[in-house]
């Protein structure tokens, strides 16, 4: 009888994957997600290669597409940076969506109803937007600290509540008089519209805030005591207790920043894009959820969020392209994000282990 030589898969622990390995594996997992989506295209009778070619031409292939990518990445950048900070603390803030909506609501109030003189309106709208998001986030924090209620559930429920509050406002008390029965608020006065770059839709003040936030959080994490507390609390609550770091104080500050940044994103959307408050699904195209992956993909570095938010900005634009050119529903974006997340977390296991074949018996 012939003996078959077997090769056994050998799994070894890898302690410190290099940045290059991390980059490659992340890239491969994103590409895998695209391959799987290709099958969905096939299911709709669309040639995947054709679809991807069309996407590439319409997104990175021309200046309008590129500006659209940047424009879509703005809320993702702000929310992503905030979520990254929360995740570093091991606080599962899934509520960026709701925090964004409350930021938008607060900014709308400033734009439509506040008695402030004109030059102060935009700064005030941003400040209140930040506060709106922060307060919405802090509700979950206090429930966690006072009653030990899991933040995943509370932050999520707060998303649904925020969404319904927005709906209530636009159908009820804030319903615009000039809107002929549509569920919108009145349009904001033009003095509170954010300026855009040239002919594009990019409302640069919000973009600038986003970049500034990324740099700030980078500094917080690497240079400040708060950043240190975040890292210790996130890695080992026991060591944090030992070091005299208060868990609740830390998550309080973290959620002020995390929720506040999402609130800024919301303010930016209503001031720079919609110029009114409208249906919550239109104010946010699921930015708060997508930002989870934006933050996850950045692997703890807020500066990388700038890149990952651009990537997902591109996916949003690709969603538009698919809708216009191939008549696919925009929901395809969620399929993308879900799949990429699946492959990413699976690749984490690969990052921690080295696979190789060895001769077995």
């Amino acid at each position: 009888m012939k003996r078959v030589r077997m090769r056994r898969l050998k799994v070894e622990k890898r302690t410190n994957p290099s940045a290059w390995t991390v980059f490659c594996i992340s890239l491969v997992s994103i590409l895998l997600a695209f391959v799987v989506i290709g099958f969905i295209f096939l299911g709709f009778g669309i040639n995947p290669l054709e679809a991807y070619l069309e996407i590439i031409i319409e997104t990175v292939g021309n200046s309008y597409g590129l500006s659209q990518i940047v424009w879509q990445s703005i809320p993702l950048l702000l929310c992503g940076v905030g979520l990254l900070l929360a995740f570093k603390t091991s606080f599962w803030n899934i509520g960026a969506e709701g925090q964004l909506l409350m930021g938008a609501t607060a900014a709308t109030w400033v734009a439509l109803f506040s008695p402030l003189p004109e030059p102060f309106l935009i700064p005030a709208a941003f400040i209140l937007g930040f506060a709106g998001g922060a307060v919405w986030g802090l509700l979950s924090t206090s429930l966690r600290s006072r009653f030990g209620i899991n933040e995943v559930i509370t932050t999520l429920m707060m998303n649904y509540i925020a969404s319904n509050i927005v709906l209530y406002l636009i159908h009820g008390p804030w319903k615009g008089e000039t809107m002929r029965g549509f569920a919108y608020t009145d349009q904001f006065p033009e003095s509170v519209w954010l300026p855009t770059i040239g002919m594009s839709d990019i409302h640069w003040p919000t973009l600038l805030l986003g970049l500034f936030a990324a740099v700030c959080v980078f500094f917080i994490l690497n240079r400040t005591r708060l950043g240190y507390e975040v890292k210790v609390v996130g890695q080992s609550p026991k060591a944090a207790r030992y070091a005299g770091i208060s868990y609740f104080k830390t998550i309080f500050y973290v959620m002020v920043i995390s929720g506040g940044l999402a609130g800024l994103a919301g303010a930016g959307e209503v001031l720079g894009v919609h110029h009114m408050l409208r249906h919550s699904d239109q104010v946010s195209l699921g930015y708060g959820y997508t930002a989870i992956i934006v933050a996850w993909l950045a692997r703890g570095n807020p500066l990388i969020v700038i890149l990952t938010s651009l990537l997902f900005g591109a996916i949003y634009v690709a969603g538009d392209v698919l809708q216009l050119s191939f008549n696919l529903p925009f929901q395809i974006v969620n399929v993308f994000t879900g799949l990429i997340l699946f492959f990413l977390i699976s690749s984490d296991t690969l990052l921690k282990h080295k696979l190789s074949f060895r001769k077995g018996e």
Partner: protein, 495 residues
């Protein structure tokens, strides 16, 4: 015929080799275990005893080696294999499910009827309890039982699984003397039924009391194997010989202790009472003080209130009664080095400021002075000779000894007036132990040191005064200790 049967080992292990990350934990071990015997395996921490037993019970898989059960070779790849062949291990940390009842724990993994599985088991437990004089109530919840009772549940669990070879890993380390006696009685009973007991320990005295055969392991190799009777007969000389084979050096570690002038107390504890998480009072009215210039050693078997005492002293747990007065700051070297004393994912320099990060020397306001922190870390790493790839490497890459040096470096450099050291040398190699001891003794010049340890040898070597902690109360001993060693040992076990 009878004689021949007696001479076939119940199980033989042949040239067992097991390597962990380049270290040979078991380096070609041969052992024969006979039925009707208690076979003690003696060795220091890290000698490879537990690894060998984990291999025998199917939890680890040996890199190479052979097992011969009643004359025929067998392979043991999973715990299930081992159990099927009658090999059951009682781990040092019991494998019991706290919220479940005794019967549920016993029934787990047995082929019990699908419907009302506990009825039969409860009866069986009672039968076995009666036969071996093990008092366990089948419907009691594990978390409500004492440690001794939990051990009995483990033994019942093993017996009901038809254990022919019972492995006990450090079974007496958590028991009171009375409970230990009961355990030995059970072992006698098992011997009568021609079962084999493998008894892992590092305590020489109790080995002689209970075992028939002794095998000594050192650094993964068998250094001696002999009938216990021979040792008993030969007396003190043989015992010393045994100890030498176990530790591989002439005398136990000794360290020169220069007396240091004692000054005012830095810690005063009066009638301290503390409860554990379940609301049991585990520290019951402790009073003691620690002065600058001395090591006050608290020794005791694990689980007598040490954890709650330390947590209360360090302010992590509220006291339910009494007062704690600390003059100055407290440094603390926790027992749990990786989970509490350091953060594995953070770099060495980040770990170096874990307890002092609020100190203004590391930066003003909310900002850190990274250059200074780097400098500071390099100085510490150098002074305490921590071997590490770089100061920006994550702490999880350090070996146990180096990690402890890093923690020691951090806590000693804070120059606190009180230093609490909890099991500072547990699980370290000899070189590191000596190192830690030296620095602790030196620190007496500036601070009062509270040492908590399970290891009487360590406490005797370092302390200026000793307190024995037993069930939350303290008995104090003053120098000289030479003639009180036995007395202290007795107190530890509650006698």
């Amino acid at each position: 015929m009878e004689e021949k049967k007696k001479n076939t080992p119940l199980i033989s292990m042949r040239s067992v080799i097991k390597t962990f990350g380049g270290v040979r934990a078991n380096d070609g071990i041969d052992i024969d275990i006979y039925g009707g015997e208690v076979h003690a395996i003696l060795g220091e921490n890290g000698a490879g005893k537990t690894t060998l037993m984990n291999i025998l019970s199917g939890i680890y898989r040996a890199d190479s080696g052979e097992f011969i059960l009643r004359g025929s070779p067998v392979s043991i790849k999973t715990p299930k294999d081992a159990i099927r062949r009658g090999i059951v291990m009682v781990h040092q940390h019991f494998r019991l499910i706290g919220p479940h009842t005794v019967a549920e724990n016993v029934a787990l993994g047995l082929s019990v009827p699908f419907i009302s599985p506990l009825k039969g088991i409860e009866r069986t437990i009672e039968e076995f309890s009666a036969r071996y004089n093990l008092l366990v109530h089948p419907r009691a919840r594990i978390c409500d039982l004492s440690v001794g009772e939990q051990q009995r549940v483990e033994i019942v669990k093993a017996l009901i699984r038809g254990a022919e070879i019972l492995i006990l890993d450090e079974p007496t380390s958590v028991l009171t003397p009375q409970e230990t006696k009961e355990l030995f009685w059970i072992l006698e009973r098992m011997k009568e039924e021609n079962k084999a007991v493998i008894f892992i320990t590092h305590k020489l005295e109790e080995v002689l009391e209970v075992s028939d055969r002794i095998t000594i392991l050192r650094r993964g190799r068998v250094t001696a194997s002999m009938p216990a009777l021979d040792v008993k007969k030969a007396g003190r000389k043989a015992k010393e010989d045994l100890a030498k084979k176990m530790v591989g050096r002439e005398v136990l570690l000794s360290i020169e202790k220069k007396p240091v002038a004692k000054s005012q107390p830095v810690l005063e504890v009066k009638d301290l009472r503390v409860e554990d998480d379940r609301g049991h009072e585990t520290v019951r009215g402790l009073s003691f003080d620690v002065c600058r210039g001395e090591v006050f050693g608290i020794v005791g078997v694990a689980g007598n209130g040490q954890n709650q005492l330390v947590e209360a002293l360090f302010g992590l747990r509220p006291a339910t009664g009494g007062t704690i007065t600390v003059r100055g700051d407290t440094g603390y070297i926790p027992e749990d080095r990786m989970g509490m004393g350091s953060v594995g994912e953070l770099t060495l320099s980040e770990n170096c400021i874990l307890t002092g990060y609020k100190n203004s020397c590391f930066g003003t306001g909310i900002f850190f002075d990274l250059a200074y922190i780097r400098e500071y870390t390099e100085a510490l790493v150098c002074k305490f000779s921590v071997t590490a790839p770089s100061i920006s490497a994550p702490a999880k890459q350090l070996s146990g000894g180096n990690l402890q040096r890093l923690i020691l470096a951090r806590e000693l450099s804070r120059n606190t007036s009180l230093l609490i050291a909890e099991q500072p040398t547990h699980g370290l190699d000899v070189g590191s132990i000596e190192y830690v001891w030296k620095f602790l003794l030196e620190q007496r010049k500036n601070a009062g040191i509270l040492l908590l340890s399970n290891d009487l040898g360590e406490v005797l070597a370092l302390s200026d005064r000793i307190g024995v902690l037993y069930r939350g109360t303290l008995t104090l001993f003053d120098q000289p200790f030479e003639d009180k060693e036995e007395q202290i040992g007795m107190k530890m076990t509650g006698l």
